[in-house]
């Protein structure tokens, strides 16, 4: 033992013993070293029997039997860990319920928003996670760690407790501590050496260094900044767009429709069609069918015929009736006399407006209108009537023209129109207005 502080001189001049003069602070406690784990247990038992409480045994590994010898009570850590785990179970289940079943119920394949089996795995994992955190941090807190400044670290032999040393340390704060009796008790218990351990002479060493305090304060303050920003954002309004930390594909270096652009002379991003451009399949060269215009050497005119590609038959007539009743009757009425649902409603409101009477024999403009012009009117509209080109395909417009012709004839029919063998027994209705 190189140590000069032996049990033989318990009150020896620590400050002046040996060759190296070392200034010391107040006494913290005594450390006694023992040879084997067994002797450590025996000595611990004696120290405890002598009534000491503020003492501890130090060893490189947990010595079995020492807890009983020292009278260490079982730690309540398991209870705390159980509570931690329980909080994890409840927290995990409530989290899932609140998110998926309460705050934002989310239908996934018609399955219940809250069903225990599907929520067990995460509830289990949160249980384990919180129990693990509680055991880990609970252990450090119970052991008052981290504590890198313990005064016993100043003793040279103390640095061997992680290697091969078995020590008992009795601290001065124990009410039975006595500068002479305590070291003697340890020596009698079989210590191979007893050492007095003092605080560091410099009080500055006994407190946490300022820079550590500063670091903790500064990092805590910095850690609060994001929360402060979030809290501010929740209570204030801003017209600025969101902060995009990862803009992803929200903002792309490309031009979208109707943006300004320097590249072209007109300053527009949009490039319109070049004049005369025709989309594939949209040439529509047959003017008779697509526009109702007939070409002749003496000039163009509205056709009075129907396009050759249409077969005039009962089926086309029925198609025309069907389309007419969908698109035309709201204004022109089922009989074509111009008193459909809309004008009726206008009249009910006290107004006076009616659509063109398509079958008026007294003012037979429409009756005398060529088929092509009628087709053109359906396509492009007339006065307040809008064009139906976008809604009604060409062939259907022709079918409507056909049905209008039928209406004009049927609404102005006379006895002459009835076949001779059907005339007997017929009565003429009152002439239409």
């Amino acid at each position: 033992m190189s140590d000069e502080r032996t049990p033989d001189s318990p009150s020896g001049d620590d400050d002046h013993g040996g060759t190296a003069v070392r200034r010391e602070g107040p006494l913290f406690g005594v450390l006694a070293e023992f040879d084997t784990p067994g002797e450590l247990i025996d000595a611990a038992r004696k120290v405890r029997a002598a009534g000491y409480t503020e003492f501890d045994c130090y060893s490189p590994f947990p010595v079995h039997g020492i807890d009983e010898a020292m009278g260490i009570r079982r730690t309540i850590l398991p209870v705390i860990i159980f509570l931690g785990g329980f909080a994890g179970t409840v927290g995990g289940l409530v989290l899932q319920w609140w998110c998926n079943a309460y705050n934002w119920p989310w239908n996934i394949s018609g399955k219940p928003a809250w069903s225990i089996p599907a929520n067990v795995p995460i509830g289990f994992e949160t249980t384990i996670l919180l129990a693990v955190f509680t055991s880990f941090f609970g252990m450090w807190i119970a052991n008052k760690l981290p504590q890198v400044w313990h005064p016993f670290f100043r003793a040279e032999r103390f640095n061997h407790i992680t290697d091969d040393a078995f020590l008992i340390g009795i601290e001065v704060r124990d009410r039975r501590f006595d500068g002479e009796a305590t070291p003697k008790l340890l020596a009698d218990a079989g210590a191979i050496s007893v050492e007095r351990v003092h605080f560091d002479p410099s009080p500055a060493v006994r407190v946490m260094p300022k820079w550590i305090t500063a670091f903790i304060v500064a990092s805590t303050a910095f850690a609060l900044i994001p929360f402060a920003v979030a809290a501010k954002a929740r209570t204030s309004h801003s017209t600025e767009p969101h902060i995009h930390i990862f803009p992803d594909m929200d903002f792309q270096p490309k031009y979208k429709s109707d943006q300004a652009m320097d590249l072209f002379g007109d300053g527009r991003e949009n490039r319109g069609e070049i004049a005369g451009t025709v989309a594939r399949g949209s040439l529509d060269a047959d003017d008779l069918f697509f526009r109702g215009i007939e070409h002749a050497p003496d000039g163009d005119s509205w056709t009075t015929k129907f396009p050759a590609r249409l077969t005039i038959n009962d089926q086309l007539m029925k198609r025309g009736k069907n389309r007419f009743e969908i698109y035309c009757t709201p204004c022109h009425g089922y009989d074509g006399r111009g008193m459909g649902a809309v004008p009726t409603r206008v009249a009910a409101g006290g107004g006076a407006w009616q659509a063109r009477n398509l079958v008026d024999a007294g003012n037979p403009v429409v009756i005398h209108m060529p088929n092509g012009q009628l087709f053109n009117t359906i396509s492009n509209g007339y006065n307040t009537m809008m064009g139906y080109a976008a809604q009604i395909p060409h062939a259907d417009r022709w079918a409507i023209v056909l049905y209008v012709r039928a209406l004009q004839r049927s609404q102005n029919a006379g006895l002459d129109d009835v076949p001779a063998d059907h005339r007997s027994g017929m009565q003429m209705p009152e002439a239409p207005q």
């Binding site: 501890d56 079995h64 998110c99 989310w106 949160t126 052991n143 760690l145 992680t162 290697d163 969101h242």
Partner: protein, 463 residues
């Protein structure tokens, strides 16, 4: 000389021997970290690992800047190497927890020689595993969406999805493994701290001292420490079974033939333990040779692990057989087709590689001579690692490549970036493991000492 003096002398001799034995353990573990220059083999291995890691980083760079399209995944085989590697790495991690927790609870003292490196292996393996689903999302910077938090998107995670269960299971596993590993290491870091302080290596003493948290090895501290450690082991044990069960739910809860099966959770857990032990000994057999740890990681310990591999290997074999039996017994034509296709379809080579490595290779462990020949064990462990990788590949790729609609059928070929990322995770794993081996206490010093007969020296009533 009186008899009393003679007793004292023999006592001092016994005590001296016990202390010397404790010192020897400390020295034998600490010398690796204290050697002024690392071993040449260590440097060479680190260089190779760093090259692999660089390949991986390049693959990740290309992947993230270009997109998932650089992989061989397609609409049909939408999960391939990425998920294969994920499951493989997670499985490897499980042996670490098993060795440290389950063997601790069952008081298998032989675990103390290998538990520290096994736990380290767990953490590094889970880190590698976590990379794959993260990168597979395509936009890993949105991974935080998986954390439930109030947000302006009005969006909560879908907690009823097995993929979300995965997030919680793997995160919990990662954190638990780290805390368990670190907690076990603190007394040994304190040993390192004290040795560095004694040598006058002030910088290292401060670093090790900071991470040792001022550990004093006091009986009161040990009491709480042991209690907490026991509970951590008790928590880690169900956790390890839950994690791989949850990973298997990713497949089992789907409706794809070949995945939709209740056998998956136990089957995956057995496979995980199997592959994990294989990986532990792939690492430890060279390491104990390189760092002269044969008297701590003894031949008996290796032999015990070989028996575990034999047992789990046969469990895996039983699972393969059961799958085929059920495919036939269920009378379901899709199941039947899937398994016939698995063995004789386009991926037949992968299937037979898997059966050969996982079922046939471990049969060699029936022979004591094999269990006592390190080089043979090392080679067999390597083959088991290969086999277990192919097990996951076979499950994932063959089932997807031939699903319900023949019009969807396709074949899977990996690209260089698939391979590069896999190689990169191997590099990451070995780099971390080598750094750990050089700078951390690779053996649980305090636990080894506590398990030695000398730990009871001087006790009046020998236990």
């Amino acid at each position: 000389m009186s008899t009393a003096d003679a007793t004292m002398d023999s006592h001092h001799a016994e005590a001296g021997k016990a202390r010397e034995a404790f010192r020897a353990v400390t020295r034998d573990v600490a010398w690796v970290a204290e050697a002024p220059r690392p071993h040449k083999a260590w440097l060479a291995a680190l260089a190779v690992s760093l090259v692999l890691l660089a390949i991986g980083l390049y693959s990740i760079y290309v992947l993230v800047t270009t997109g998932i399209g650089v992989w061989g995944n397609s609409n049909t085989v939408c999960w391939a190497w990425d998920i294969t590697n994920f499951v493989w790495w997670i499985g490897i991690g499980h042996a670490g927890t098993l060795i440290s927790a389950v063997l601790y609870l069952t008081r298998q003292t032989w675990r103390v020689s290998i538990n520290r490196s096994a736990e380290a292996m767990t953490i590094f393996a889970v880190m590698c595993a976590g990379l794959f689903p993260l990168l597979h999302t395509g936009r890993p910077w949105f991974a935080w969406w998986m954390i439930p938090h109030p947000n302006d998107m009005q969006m909560w995670p879908q907690f009823r999805s097995p993929l979300m269960w995965d997030v919680f299971a793997v995160t919990t596993y990662m954190l638990t493994s780290i805390l368990f590993w670190y907690m076990g290491m603190v007394p040994d870091l304190a040993t390192f701290r004290d040795r560095c302080a004694a040598r006058g290596d002030k910088l290292r003493a401060i670093i090790y001292g900071a991470v040792a948290l001022g550990w004093r090895g006091s009986a009161r501290q040990w009491h709480r420490y042991e209690r907490a450690y026991l509970i951590l082991a008790g928590l880690a044990t169900p956790l390890v079974f839950s994690v791989h069960s949850v990973v298997s739910f990713d497949f089992a809860t789907s409706q794809l033939p070949g995945w939709h099966t209740t056998i998956f959770p136990p089957y995956f857990v057995a496979g995980a333990i199997f592959s994990g032990f294989a990986m532990v000994f792939t690492l430890l057999i060279p390491a104990r040779h390189l760092f002269n740890l044969k008297h701590i990681i003894k031949d008996e310990h290796v032999e015990a692990a070989c028996k575990i591999m034999l047992a789990t290997g046969m469990m895996v074999g039983l699972a393969y057989a059961t799958e085929f039996f059920i495919a036939w017994y269920s009378g379901n034509m899709f199941e039947g087709f899937t398994f016939i296709n698995r063995a004789f379809g386009p991926f037949w080579w992968a299937y037979f590689l898997m059966v050969g490595c996982n079922v046939l290779v471990p049969q060699a462990f029936w022979f004591k001579k094999v269990r006592r020949t390190p080089i043979a064990i090392f080679c067999l462990c390597l083959l088991i690692n290969v086999g277990m990788w192919f097990e996951r590949f076979v499950i994932i790729a063959t089932s997807l490549a031939r699903s319900f609609l023949p019009a969807q059928w396709s074949y899977y070929t990996p690209t260089r970036y698939d391979v590069g990322l896999f190689i990169g995770t191997l590099g990451l794993f070995f780099t971390l493991f080598l750094l750990f081996f050089r700078y951390a206490p690779v053996i649980a010093i305090s636990e080894v000492k506590g398990a030695m007969p000398e730990a009871h020296a001087g006790k009046k009533h020998q236990p």
